[in-house]
C-alpha cells in the first residue's frame, strides 16, 4: 500500500527480472513490482533510497542508481553484510521486498545553469549514476559537466561499459590506484584528477561520493581550489532499520539521514560535527 507515493510500513513484493554482473562482488538487479498499480505509481528523485527486504534475512538501505526518467528500475549492490550477501545468492525470478523511496534527493532545481562535477571513489559511482544520467539527459541545462572516477584496479571500474558514452557527452576522467600492464589511463588517487581536469570553481557544484578517506581528501582539494563547502554535495551512508525517522540509528548531529538526508552539503556535514 502506498501513502503519499511511498511504501512506508509493509514491503511491496518485487520480482528480480534480470541480474547483471558488474565488477567483482557487485551486481545489478533489475526489479519490477508485482502489484501493477505500484509499478506504475512508483517514482523517485535522484539521491533517494529504498529499504530492501531479502526474505528470511532482513532489510537494509540501498541507494537508487537509475535516473528518475526513462530508465529501467534497478539497484546495484555489493555483497558485504548479511542481507546483501543473501541478495547475491538470489537468481532472476526470485522475489524481494521494497519500501520507499525515502530521503530528500539531490537539489537539481537549484543547480540549473551551473557547472557540475561528479567525483566518485569506487562504488561511490553507484548512487551518483542517477544524477549523472539525469544531468546528461538534460545536458543543455548545465554548464561544463565533469566526471572524475577513481578505482582500485581497472577491473574495479564501475559502469565501464558507459565509459565511452560518458567521455563523449561530458568530460570524463578515470584513474586507478593499482594499474595493470594494459591500463593506459591515469594512475593515482581520484583527487589528483581535479587538477588534471582543470575543475572550475565559479558557478560550480560538486557531487562527491566514496569512502571516508577519499571523501575528505577530495573535499580538501576542491576547497583549496576555492570551491565553497556549500557547493560540495554528498550522500551519506548509515546503518538504518526503519527508513522513516523512528529507529534513530542513522542520526547525524540533530538530523536523521533517512528523513533529513541522505543528501547533505559538506558545510552541513561539518556543522553537524560527526565523522563521515
Amino acid at each position: 500500500m502506498m501513502e503519499n507515493g511511498k511504501i512506508v510500513t509493509i514491503p511491496a513484493v518485487a520480482t528480480i527480472d534480470e541480474i547483471k554482473d558488474e565488477i567483482p562482488n557487485v551486481r545489478t538487479y533489475y526489479l519490477s513490482f508485482d502489484d501493477k498499480a505500484i509499478d506504475g505509481a512508483f517514482t523517485f528523485r535522484s539521491g533517494q533510497f529504498i529499504m530492501l527486504t531479502v526474505f528470511g534475512e532482513g532489510e537494509c538501505a540501498i541507494s537508487l542508481p537509475p535516473s528518475p526518467e526513462k530508465d529501467r528500475f534497478h539497484i546495484t549492490v555489493r555483497s558485504v553484510g548479511k542481507v546483501t550477501r543473501a541478495l547475491g545468492g538470489l537468481s532472476a525470478g526470485d522475489k524481494v521486498g521494497v519500501r520507499g523511496p525515502f530521503g530528500n534527493g539531490f537539489p537539481f532545481d537549484e543547480i540549473k545553469g551551473k557547472n557540475v562535477v561528479f567525483v566518485a571513489g569506487g562504488i561511490g559511482l553507484i548512487p551518483l549514476r542517477s544524477s549523472i544520467v539525469h544531468v546528461l539527459q538534460h545536458r543543455k541545462d548545465f554548464g561544463r559537466v565533469i566526471l572524475l572516477s577513481g578505482s582500485r584496479t581497472p577491473s574495479d571500474i564501475m559502469y565501464k561499459y558507459n565509459m565511452k558514452e560518458w567521455q563523449e557527452n561530458c568530460e570524463a576522467f578515470y584513474t586507478v590506484d593499482n594499474p595493470t600492464p594494459d591500463w593506459t589511463g591515469e594512475t593515482g588517487f581520484v583527487h589528483t584528477l581535479i587538477e588534471k581536469a582543470k575543475v572550475p570553481v565559479e558557478n560550480t557544484v560538486a557531487f562527491v561520493c566514496g569512502p571516508p578517506v577519499m571523501f575528505n581528501t577530495v573535499n580538501q582539494e576542491l576547497m583549496k581550489r576555492g570551491l565553497s563547502d556549500e557547493f560540495i554535495i554528498s550522500t551519506l551512508e548509515r546503518h538504518m532499520k526503519c527508513g522513516v525517522g523512528k529507529c534513530q540509528h542513522c542520526a547525524v548531529g540533530r538530523t536523521l539521514v533517512c528523513t533529513d538526508g541522505p543528501v547533505y552539503t559538506y558545510r552541513q556535514i561539518k556543522i553537524l560535527g560527526e565523522q563521515i
Partner: protein, 354 residues
Amino acid sequence: MYLIKKSDVLRLAEELGKTHDLYGPFMEPATKQAMFERVGKAADIDLAAPIPALPPKHALLPHYEKILAYSYDKKTQKVDLAPIYDDRPKALFGVRPCDLTGILCLDRFFLGQEFLDEVYKYHRKNLFIVSQTCVAPFKQCFCVCCDGGPAASEGYDLNLTDLGDTYLVEAGSEKGKKLAEAMGLAAADAKHQAEKTRRIDKCITLFDSVATDNKAWISRVMNRVTTGFIDEAVWEYIGNQCFECGACSFVCPTCSCFNIVDLPRKNGGAHESDRVRTWDSCSYEGYTREAGGHNPRKPVEDRRNKRFFCKLSYSQSKKYLRPGCVGCGRCQWVCPGDIGLPNVVTYIRREIHS
C-alpha cells in the same frame, strides 16, 4: 471532578479490567522492587508502591515484538505478508506523572513527525490512562527541574490525587468522564481542588529534604548541548565512565530507539519468518556499525553525547514539544558508571563555570 473513597479506588481498576488488559504498580516479592506490569486482578495493584523500576512504556513499545509475519516459498515464488498490529484495549492504572509525560513524548515522536508509526498507533489506539499525582517525592526524583511532575496536567483519561481518606478523581477525556459517571462517583468541589493544590505545593517543598539524590538544572545546559559548545574533554570524561550496558536507555520513559531483525519463525515451516522489533541503545558499539565494518560513531564518548543530545537539546525538544528528560531519576539509579543524566548536567555546568 469526583471523589472516591480510598478503600474503593481499586473498583475503578476492576471496572477497567473487565474490558481492558490491566496494568498497574505493585511490589514484586522476589526482587522487593516496585514494578509496573500487567496484573492478574485489580486487587494486585498497590497505588502506594514507590516509583516503578521500569516505566510503563513497554505497554506501547514492548521489549520484543513481532511486527510482521511472512513466508516466501522459492519453489512456487509465493510471498505472504501479514502485518501484526496489537490494538488490544489496555488500561494503565496509577501511572506516575513523569511516566505519563514520557508517554506523551513518545506520542509526539511516533505520531507527530513526517511519518506515522503504524505499530505504535495501534498500541495507542485503545489505551486508557489513569495517572496519579505524587504527593511526596522519592529520593531519586527531579521532575520539578524538567516540568515532568509532580502532578499531571494533560494526557490522562482519569487522574487520581490522594486527599487522605479519599481520592480526587479528575476526568481528562470523554471516556474518562464516562467511566466516572458510570461508576456513580460523588462530585467534588472547589474545596477538594484547593486541597489538591495544597498537597502539590507541599510535595514540591519536600524535594529539598526528601529528593536528595538528584538535581538537574537542565535549562542551564540546553543551550550548550544544542550548539555543541562543550569541551571534548567533558564528553571523554563521561565516555570513560560508560560501561556501554544500555540500562539508561531501557529504563528511560522517553528512549525509544529500536532494532529490527528478521528471524526464522519458531516451530514454523522452512519458508516462514518473523520481523521482530526490539529495544536498542545508542550506547552499544554495534548501533551505528555499517555492513562493511565502518563505524562512524566508534568512540564511546561520541555515542554518549548522542544520548544527552536527545534528552537536552532544543532540536530534539522540537520533536517532543518539551525536553526529552522527564526527571524520573531512573538512569542515575541504574547507571553503574555514575553518569545518569543529573550527573552529566552537573559535569557540563562545572565546565561552564570553570
